[in-house]
């Protein structure tokens, strides 16, 4: 019943995107909570949605290579999140955290792929 699964996935994705778009306007729905988050808050919510998709693949991956791919993609998403936080707070050392995280993720991915290949590290 693949058509039903397509319909279910579309509904779930639309509800999640609606929540992401509607959450910064929380003061519309709840009158006594006048927090207006703005552009950066919406960006952070969308990145959290993408990270939840990646973590789904980390937990449900059938093989080990799926999990390694998902960890690599998660590291690149963290770099973008650090850049957005840097422009939000006006402090430039958040991008330093992003550069360091990307370097560690790159070296870790290379080591894990060598381990997956089944050879020693000095090959």
């Amino acid at each position: 019943m693949i058509f039903g699964r397509w319909i279910l996935g579309t509904i779930v994705l639309l509800v999640l995107m609606g929540l992401v778009i509607a959450l910064p306007f929380r003061s519309v729905f709840f009158e006594n909570n006048p927090t207006h988050i703005g552009f950066v808050g919406r960006v952070v919510y969308i990145l959290i949605l993408a990270s939840l998709m990646v973590l789904f693949r980390v937990t449900r991956g059938p093989t080990a290579a799926d999990r390694i791919v998902a960890i690599d993609i998660f590291g690149i998403l963290i770099v973008g999140l650090c850049a957005v936080l840097s422009i939000a707070t006006g402090r430039s050392w958040y991008i330093d955290i992003g550069i360091a995280w990307g370097l560690q993720s790159f070296i870790g991915t290379l080591a894990l792929s060598k381990y997956l290949e089944g050879k020693s590290f000095d090959d």
Binding site: L49, D66, G80, G102, F106
Partner: protein, 112 residues
């Protein structure tokens, strides 16, 4: 004005990120997932960093660091993707059963 152009680049990058992660969930095979996720998320994050470079006002401290991060990501991301796919193919993970061609197995039978 230049803030609006930077926000436009950040929005385009977010769209690429979400669609790449959707491909990571949706596609049936390790190699298909790797192709979708690596290309889309690398381009999306580079677009976000270029938007940060524009929105922080050009060649300030934040902007120069964002440009350096773009160069770093473009250099390192294809290398890690190639290493993952090579390791996965060496360790014997099979392709999807509707895949058409496997050129890596035709070229060399296990060595080099």
């Amino acid at each position: 004005m230049i803030d609006n152009i930077g926000m436009f680049f950040i929005g385009v990058g977010l769209a690429f990120d979400v669609l790449g992660c959707l491909g990571l969930v949706r596609l049936p095979d390790v190699y298909n997932r790797l192709q979708s996720a690596t290309k889309c998320v690398t381009l999306g994050t580079c677009s976000i960093l270029f938007g940060v470079f524009l929105a922080s006002g050009g060649f300030t401290e934040t902007g120069v660091k964002a440009l350096i991060t773009i160069v770093f990501l473009v250099l390192t991301s294809p290398v890690s993707a190639h290493a993952i796919s090579r390791g996965a193919h060496r360790s014997g993970i099979r392709l999807w059963e509707k895949s058409v061609v496997d050129s890596y197995a035709e070229d060399n039978e296990g060595e080099a």
